[in-house]
Symmetry: C2
Subunit: 378 residues, 2 copies
């Protein structure tokens, strides 16, 4: 039986709305390395206007695909379903919305899980070192294939929030407005420590095999554990006090020597972890995770964040943070807003929301996020 | 070659100051189960007075041994060296200090790592289910072997803070004052989630072998990973911003596909993890960790925390929390203080320290902890 050469997890999702931008030239990466025949998956909503100046470019967090909202081609709800559409905060009657699948992510763009055209095999860990700047550049090149040279706004949460900052530093003349949500100008050591441990869980799973696992036979255990830690850090203790308290899963009594889940919160973690391990590629996870650690916008200002932000030419900026976010703490959002203000070019709007849902609030606390983003884009 | 029947990790520490209280009767545990020929390791400082009323009983966190301070028998510094001794906050000119090695801990007390007298082999996971109440009771019974029927104060940080609450509920007539530091009246779902994941890391290590590993050949990888997560949650993001920032380990350049530590914070985690895996027994870790999840002081008040606290008869209480503690958050300390005040019997002193060191502050921010505890015990 011939083995399929596409490295797909056990239940790879299908994205009928997905488009693949096949870039004409090799992609030179920020830290050296080249991707031959690069592909950037994306989805779009709304229409590009005649002036080609109504594009909203959306970058994602670490794990979501480009399917941010439903469309005629793919009616499944997306991860920001209530945010994008006709009459919604990112209004597709006015804007042409492009959501990019991050370079390095396994959902269609060139990544450790995609085929290296030089070998006909998945890249695996022969994929060159990935930077947040490369994700920004890949999005930029995808827009070029669509004939777009300038964006009305670039928006991103989490890793996407880092990516929009890289985008503004790399392409300062091509962005009118920027929206950064629970992002960071650089990773702090607490977040680095958490991601380092997540990567070690993946790498410690014997099924990782130094990165050379067979398609569909990756380190599922390691991914499950890593995602549990992710889920813990994406929410907040206060939310879980309300949501789970100390309620127990009924069927599991306490048995000495039996350490299986007894509390509802443990069952919830398990559910989230299984879902992620079903979908995500382990090497892609490692690359994206490390790219977040290494991101430092100050690299674009000779080591100075202020100098890097001074390069930005955006006219308006919306910076949103969440007080209960432990992964991208609100201090890091204020830092972005303060630097943008100090640079003096942009009109800066800053919100620190008291949402209970921590880093994930932008997916959940839509009563706060929708009006803020809707007003900004009006 | 005969195999040693003592389940000792690779570099088991020696405690020349350690005393072993061998209890006369079997220990009946809180959730059923019995320990035959129970042993409670402990160390002491100072002298019991003629009235036998000057004892300070100290319970520990999850991982430290009873060696809280140096002594003539063991001059190595203990984990609270600056807190215990002549003229120190817990002044041994006045008090007789007893620090108890928790039941279930591998440092000398009966535990999954100790020998089951019925089989001549280590208990492993045949050890009965452990509760925080059992740790309190074991400490109480150890005092009985020393001829002590009442304590001037019972003190504990972290797991020890839970233990002192259990002690006051179980033995209300035998405690004059209580000091709880970064403890909890019951585990919250965020802490349960973290400990559940830590246990899963240990259990997922093939070397755990369902709990039946050979002495010295336990799941070192799982313990290392679990301790890394512990270390992350014992400190605070703000402390690490100051202490590590984004400094890199010099010799590790970024190589694609090489995910070894590059940042100083990663090297620090590795050092802490190695040290713990050298010392601690995996099954003991699982039992103590699960005991913390299951602890709920409300069990002593028919499901009501207020009713449980109403049983306390302490005359004075000192409750200390740390604002940056994510594992035993300061809200949980205020909850203890509020309940003690509402119960109306004790004079309650409450501090929420702004220490940067999170849950570990009681070990580090001694400039705040020493005067607070010293004044209280005067």
């Amino acid at each position: 039986m011939a083995m399929a050469l596409v490295r797909s997890p056990s239940s790879a999702p299908e994205f009928p709305g997905r488009q693949l931008a096949r870039l004409e030239r090799p992609l030179r990466l920020h830290r050296g390395g080249v991707i031959e025949q690069p592909v950037v998956a994306h989805e779009t909503w709304g229409r590009l206007n005649a002036a080609r100046d109504n594009t909203v470019l959306l970058f994602t967090g670490l794990s979501p695909p480009a399917h941010a909202a439903s469309s005629p081609a793919d009616p499944k709800p997306g991860w920001w379903e209530s945010m994008i559409g006709e009459g919604k905060p990112i209004d597709t009657r006015r804007y042409f919305v492009v959501c990019v699948n991050s370079l390095g992510s396994p959902y269609g763009s060139s990544s450790p899980a995609s085929i290296d055209p030089r070998t006909g095999r998945p890249y695996g860990i022969s994929f060159p070192e990935l930077s947040v700047e490369d994700i920004a550049t890949a999005g930029h090149e995808a827009l070029r294939t669509l004939g777009i040279e300038r964006v009305a706004a670039v928006i991103g949460p989490s890793l996407g929030g880092m990516t929009v900052l890289a985008y503004c530093a790399l392409f300062p003349d091509e962005v009118d407005s920027v929206v950064t949500i629970s992002g960071a100008a650089r990773a702090n050591p607490f977040a680095i420590a958490l991601r380092s441990l997540q990567r070690e869980m993946v790498r410690s799973d014997p099924a990782w095999r130094g990165g050379s696992y067979e398609p569909g036979r990756g380190p599922r255990l390691g991914l499950r554990l890593a995602r549990k830690l992710g889920t813990i850090t994406y929410r907040s203790a206060d939310e879980w006090n309300e949501r789970f308290g100390r309620r127990r899963v009924p069927e599991t009594a306490g048995i000495a020597g039996d350490f299986r889940p007894q509390f509802e919160v443990e069952a919830y973690l398990e559910h989230q972890a299984q879902r992620f391990a079903d979908l995500f590629d382990a090497n892609a996870y490692l690359y994206l995770s490390r790219a977040m650690d290494n991101f430092d916008l100050a690299d674009h200002g000779g080591g100075s964040l202020a100098a890097a932000f001074a390069k930005f030419k955006v006219r308006r900026a919306l910076v949103i943070g969440v007080e209960t976010d432990m992964l991208f703490p609100v201090d890091q959002q204020r830092e972005i807003a303060d630097h943008l203000r100090a640079a003096g070019r942009a009109r800066v709007e800053y919100h620190a929301f008291p949402s209970l849902q921590g880093h994930d609030a932008f997916l959940v606390d839509l009563a706060r996020f929708e009006p803020a983003i809707g007003e900004f884009l009006k």
